[in-house]
Amino acid sequence: MSAAYWRRAMNTAAASAVRPLPTAPVATAGAPIDGSAGTPRWLAWLMQHIAWRHVLVLLGVLLYPFVATPFFTYQIGAQALALGLIALSLTFLGGYGGMVSLAQMTVAGMAGYMVAIFGSSSAAAISLGWPWWLAVAVAIVIAVVFGTLVGWLSVRTEGIYTIMITLAIGVAFFYLAQQNYTLFNGFQGFNKVFAPSVLELDFREPVPFYFLTLGCALAGYAFVKLLVRAPFGAALQGIRDNPRRMRALGFDVTAHRVAAYAVAALLAAVGGVLMVWYNARISPGTMNTAAMINILIIAVLGGMRHPIGAFIGAIVFVLVQNFAIDLLGAVGRERFNLVIGGVFLAIVLFSPDGLLGLWAKLRSRLDPQSPTSNQRRRLQ
């Protein structure tokens, strides 16, 4: 349905390119900001966009490490946020751009490898030992360039062919990393890639690291939320819904798609840096086929319609991965993969839109008046 929305966006943003269409009933996602006297604009904007549930969730995630054990802070909280950030890049690509890429974990792995190569690790012969901030900056730039190239290669395909070509790239990079010894240190990869200490704050400790991932995740989330409402995001959704029409309207479809890959690569790269610090190491196994598919599972599990889905999916995924083995005391703990598969299957079976879809269904059943139709979710 976002047709009306992108039309409106185009009218303002790409007015020079396209002749304004007769304005259809404008479906406003967020009501226009009224500049009523007294409240400053930014406050009005904030009040417009931030609901109680946002404040609650924010308070929840901020207070979480102070009530949770270090294990829950680090292995559940921080890992879910870092994985969620990588899955967010896929949600952005898939949910808003209509391109399902399996190579997001590969982009994250590339960033992780670059941190290990430019920064310091146990493989002293390869690692250059640059200061961490420089290594991270270079790593993210290289990963974004890499992700953009992946996009540039795969945008010429559609649907299942995009999945195939990104899978092929991911597997190729996995084997490159596994068999190259001069740069990627082969099968063993890099050990002791530690998170830095900044101003007496040691990011290897659970709580500081949790807040680091939380900050990155919140930034990524806000970035995606803003971007999909910006002209670029609106055009991207238009391309998702009807590329031919967008091309006819004068949009460069390929350029928009490649740019979407670049944006997704940025998110995945940040997630990849966090992942390598979280594990304190990286090897080809970090980004093998199973890991690539895990990202897809997370995104689908949470739901691709809204950026929060990636994080919800990641939390459920990490919880199931960690605790499935405890559920089977009697049957035999060796069978825990059965639980993992069963949970994922049940979620996808009962709600093709993931957990978000389940939530929307629940809401519309409890309160038929509530505006939880797809269009609204999509536009948020």
Binding site: T69, P70, F71, F72, Y74, Q75, Q79, Y175, Q178, Q179, Y181, G186, F187, Q188, N191, K192, N279, A280, R281, S283, G285, T286, N288, A290, N322, I325, R333, E334, F336, N337
Partner: protein
């Protein structure tokens, strides 16, 4: 209303009953021990067998050690170090185990050792991982490995090869940590005693096509050193046979296993006499080993015909863990000080030789040199031809010499000319 009340009363009663039952179960003091092996991924089958090894050690003590009932908290990885650390962290930080046994493979071992450093109050005991670096470079004071590692398993094979007249060899091995260690264990003595490894071919794990490697094998060598595992070994053998190769072979610790011995090709006969070495062999002729195999077979109806290397290694590590608990009567106080002293003093006669550790908390043990022999029924098996006891991690060299050589890698050691 009355129904709700009744339901309420019943649930309270039920809860009380279950608490009571649980309470009595807990009254007999339970000690949790973490147990990590690979129950998923490429090593799922060995992982399952390693759990059998640990279970067997516990069963032989009737589930008790140090006066407490022992409960294994089993966790799993898929042979990737990330997953191994995640599973270990869950057992240690969430399930609060004071002692942790695992992991299975080499790189996992290095990662878990690095994690062990962040948990000084927990004692970590290796499962079956055999990377040299785990205990040699930057060891962790609370990580113990009662088994010997990949390089130690090959000590003595060099001399044995020379005694068979193999003066010039060509090496083919998989390109990762474990074969590096194995090759070093072989070459350290082989090179020192005058043998020459004219060239090394490092192939990626899981290589299917060996044509280019086979083409490189020189004509004038005496034997091939083949350090490949599982399907890689079978693939290489088949293709080498098809290419008309006829050189005798020396194998690594996991090269000449049952899959290779059951090999059906024309060259099957040429496998006879293939020498290899390892920390155990199926045909050890000692009462301890026979008792171990019999107990394994009796306990696990679904197990292998004979315990695998992994079951054996998990068995001795678990046994050392439990014996030390008995020695201190389950006392883990004071940062497990007494317990660790007891671990350090471990010295028992295991199924395949003595189990004891050195100052780096790494196993010092026996290596078995075997040769493929034909049994009376026509099947092939690995016959023990020599045992080399008391092998330390420096491979029998003085420590200074070993340090000068460094850890095994693609280029270390080297004796081309």
């Amino acid at each position: 209303m009355r129904v709700t009340k009744r339901v309420w009363a019943r649930s309270v009663l039920g809860l009380a009953a279950s608490v009571a039952v649980l309470g009595t179960a807990w009254a007999q003091e339970t000690l949790k021990i973490g147990l990590l092996a690979t129950l998923e991924g490429p090593f799922a089958v060995p992982g399952q067998d390693s759990m059998r090894g640990a279970d067997l050690a516990l069963k032989q003590k009737n589930g008790m050690a140090g006066g407490k009932k022992i409960e294994f908290v089993k966790v799993s990885s898929d042979a990737t170090p990330d997953k191994a650390v995640a599973a270990t962290r869950k057992a240690v930080e969430q399930d609060k185990v004071p002692i942790m046994i695992g992991p299975l493979s080499g790189d996992e071992g290095i990662a878990v050792k690095n994690y062990a450093k962040t948990q000084p109050n927990i004692t970590f005991i290796n499962g079956s991982s055999g990377a040299q670096a785990t205990t040699l470079s930057d060891p962790s004071p609370n990580f113990y490995r009662f088994n010997t590692e990949g390089a130690q398993w090959m000590v003595g094979l060099g001399e044995h090869a020379l005694s068979k007249g193999y003066k010039k060899t060509f090496l083919i091995a998989e390109d990762y940590g474990f074969p590096y260690s194995q090759v070093q264990g072989f070459m350290a003595s082989y090179c020192a005693k005058g043998g020459k490894v004219v060239d090394k071919a490092w192939v990626p794990l899981g290589t299917k096509d060996y044509a280019s490697v086979i083409a490189k094998i020189p004509k004038d060598i005496d034997a091939l050193v083949v350090v490949l595992g599982g399907s890689d070994a079978v693939n290489f053998l088949t293709q080498y046979e098809q290419a008309g190769g006829d050189k005798p072979m020396i194998g690594g610790s996991i090269t000449v296993d049952q899959t290779v011995l059951n090999y059906k090709g024309k060259r099957r006969e040429s496998l006879l006499g293939t020498a290899s070495a390892g920390p155990m062999a199926d045909s050890i002729d000692s009462p301890e080993w026979k008792a171990f195999v019999a107990d394994y077979k009796a306990t696990f109806k679904d197990g292998f015909p004979s315990p695998s290397l992994f079951a054996y290694l998990y068995y001795i590590n678990t046994k050392a863990t439990l014996d030390a608990l008995d020695a201190v009567k389950g006392d883990l106080s004071n940062g497990q000080k007494a317990y660790r002293e007891a671990l350090q003093k471990t010295n028992f006669k295991g199924p395949a030789g003595e189990v004891k550790i050195d100052a780096n908390r790494n196993g010092v043990g026996t290596t078995y040199i075997t040769e493929v022999t034909k049994a009376a029924d026509g099947s092939f098996y690995n016959k023990v031809v020599r045992t080399v006891p008391n092998i330390s991690q420096t491979l029998g060299l003085p420590e200074a010499d070993f340090k000068k050589m460094g850890l095994g890698s693609r280029d270390v050691p080297d004796c081309r000319k």
